[in-house]
Each structure stands twice: as C-alpha cells, then as structure tokens.
C-alpha cells in the first residue's frame, strides 16, 4: 500500500526526481564552496579590492588635505575668494562622508558574516 502511494502515481515520482536533483545540486554547491575556502586554492582574478580601497582612501585624504591647506591660507590672509574655499570645504566634507558610509557598509557586512551560525 505504501509502495503504491510512493511509486504508483507519475506525479509523485516526478516530484521525488526533482527533490533528488535539487539535493544533488546542493551537495555540489557545498563541495565547490569548500574548495574555494581551502587555502592555496586559485583565486578568481579581478580588480584587487584592497588596492582600490586604499586608493580611494588616499583620494579622500588628498581632498581633506586640500581643504586644510585652504583654511590655513584663509587664516594667513592669502585667499581672496570665499566661494572657492566654501566649495573645497564642501567637496572634502562630502567625499569624506561618502567614504565613511562605504566603510560602515563593509563593517556591517563583516559583522553579519561573523554572526553567521556554523
């Protein structure tokens, strides 16, 4: 009777085949994930994230330094253009805030990964 329920109708056998195929795919995916995680495995080539992050930080640093230099010039009385100073200050402030926001996002992602149950 049970056999008949399990194998008799064509729809249940189709469903079973589908579940088995899905399980197989899952197992393969898990295996390939494990392979990537192994040390010494070849890494996928692409733009080096660390380097591009460092470059961005350097760009933002240059912006902030420019603003600092301008403020120094204002204090020394060497600047006769307020709008340029204001624009540079706003530019460095905005780029710094954008960089901070990107950093926050990455730290959030890192925390999320660390919180993952094993």
């Amino acid at each position: 009777m049970v056999d008949r329920i399990g194998t008799g109708t064509p729809s249940t056998s189709l469903a079973r085949a589908a579940i088995e195929a899905a399980l197989k795919r899952q197992a393969e995916a898990t295996r390939s994930m494990g392979e990537i995680a192994q040390p010494g495995a070849t890494r996928t080539e692409g733009p080096d994230f660390t380097r591009s992050l460092a470059e961005t930080v350097k760009t933002v640093d240059t912006e902030v330094r420019k603003a600092d230099a301008l403020v120094e010039q204002v204090v020394a009385g060497q600047v006769n253009d307020f709008s340029e100073v204001a624009a540079q200050l706003k530019q460095s402030e905005l780029s710094l805030r954008f960089a901070l926001e990107v950093r926050n996002k990455f730290i959030d992602a890192y925390r999320e990964v660390m919180r993952m149950g094993v």
Partner: protein
C-alpha cells in the same frame, strides 16, 4: 579634471561663477567710488569706467574652438574707452579747462546700480545651483545609510 574633481564639477562651476560675479561687484564698486574723480594720479584726465568681461574657462586649457566642456567662467576687468566723458561747465573747478568745462568720468550711477543688482542676482543664482548640488549629494548619501 580627474577622479573626484569630475564628480564635483557642478560645485566648482558654480564656485567660479560666484567668483566672477564678485569681481564684477568689485568693478562696479570701483566705478561708483571713482564717479567724481576728474584727474587721475598720473595726470591722464578723468577716471575711465571699468567693465568686467566674462570668459569661459576651458578644461585642461583647451583651445577655444575645441569641444572640451567648459570648467567655469572668469571675469576679466577691462576699461571702457568708448563711452565719452561727461562735460560739465564749472569754471571754479581746479581741473576746468580754458572755457570753464570740466571732464567728468564716463560713469553713469544709475547704470552701475542696475549692473550691481544684476551681479547680485547672478551671484544668488550660482549660490542656489551650488546649494541644489549639495542637497542632491546629501540626499544620495542619506539613501546609502
């Protein structure tokens, strides 16, 4: 322009506009202040009115005919040597000529006032454009939070 400067080009463009308008205001102020100067220190007659002429700045110092986008404006101060001097009959004036006529600068106070209002409004327009740019960037930043 590279990198971040391109991103903030709207901000810098408005800033050059404001700078140019400030030069214009300075020129107008100079004209009004010198409206009654009948003799310049170098003895070259009355003061000549000055005009701020606006030039487009080209990105990377490109030539005027090329299609490179403008990176802002710049005001150049030039002398108005076309408008004639005003002749006033005032024999008692130290700078009066043999016929008692005195040459006054070619500055028209009404015109200068109108120009000043124009410069102020243009300055405000640039300021508004800059403010809009900053607000747009801040809204984008808020969206990322």
């Amino acid at each position: 322009m590279e990198g971040l400067d391109r991103l903030f080009s709207g901000l810098r463009l408005s800033s050059t506009g404001m700078s140019a308008e400030r030069t214009r205001i300075d020129t107008i102020a100079e004209n009004i202040a010198h409206a009654d100067v009948t003799k310049m220190p170098d003895g070259s007659g009355p003061y000549r009115r000055k005009i701020a002429r606006f030039d487009a700045l080209l990105e990377g110092g490109g030539s005027a005919g090329s299609a490179t986008p403008s990176s802002g404006v710049r005001a150049k101060v030039e002398t108005d040597s076309v408008t004639p001097f005003e002749i006033v009959h005032d024999p008692g004036h130290p700078d009066a000529d043999a016929e008692g006529n005195v040459l006054y600068p070619n500055v028209n106070a009404t015109q200068e006032m109108a120009e000043m209002i124009l410069a102020m409004r243009s300055y405000e327009a640039n300021l508004n454009a800059q403010d809009t740019f900053v607000r747009m960037a801040e809204r984008a930043l808020k969206m990322a939070q």
